[in-house]
Amino acid sequence: AAGVIQSPRHLIKEKRETATLKCYPIPRHDTVYWYQQGPGQDPQFLISFYEKMQSDKGSIPDRFSAQQFSDYHSELNMSSLELGDSALYFCASSLVNGYTFGSGTRLTVV
């Protein structure tokens, strides 16, 4: 069965740089979510999209933005990166109450 695909798997950026993370949800899933998991932390909800429209917003910094495109893939854009942005970023997609998570993108800011 198709899963949630995230790219890249690993990313190293310097402070103040920008990063773009991509997520390809399971086909026919109508909602995409982004989560941030810091070292030793639980996943924190950032933002979600339902049918390509932003549906909910969590603890997403103003330096971050996201969108969902016509083909349903989503991108998380992160600017002015800080050391504290180093984390595992998960994308998940859902249909009704079935949530599937991708393997995540590990972002390291140096």
Binding site: Q41, Q44, S55, D56, G58, F90, S94, Y99, F101, S103
Partner: protein
């Protein structure tokens, strides 16, 4: 608001013994409850969920969980632990009666199964 509490940072159990990982939740309405497992440097893998119906939910790899509305709990259990069950376990909740569809996670419990 919705929240999850996992009161134990770590649970240690000997292989072959039963295990329990505790979870309590708080929602304004009715909950949807989930358990996920995370292995080092890996994504979140779905174990089981409670949506409605039987309070005892059976999931992957022999795990089960019991929804207890009066105690607002959803503890994860397995009759006989395996060393390969050693991982980080997250409980998550969604309030069925709110507009928010995103899951809220607990802080995680590290399960260590000793041979």
């Amino acid at each position: 608001a919705q929240s999850v509490a996992q009161p134990e940072d770590q649970v240690n159990v000997a292989e072959g013994n039963p295990l329990t990982v505790k979870c309590t939740y708080s929602v304004s309405g009715n909950p949807y409850l989930f358990w996920y497992v995370q292995y080092p440097n890996r994504g979140l893998q779905f174990l089981l969920k409670y949506i409605t119906g039987d309070n005892l939910v059976k999931g992957s790899y022999g795990f089960e969980a019991e929804f207890n509305k009066s105690q607002t709990s959803f503890h994860l259990k397995k009759p006989s632990a395996l060393v390969s069950d050693s991982a980080l376990y997250f409980c998550a909740v969604r309030d069925r009666d709110s507009g928010r569809r995103a899951l809220t996670f607990g802080s995680g419990t590290r399960l260590q199964v000793q041979p």
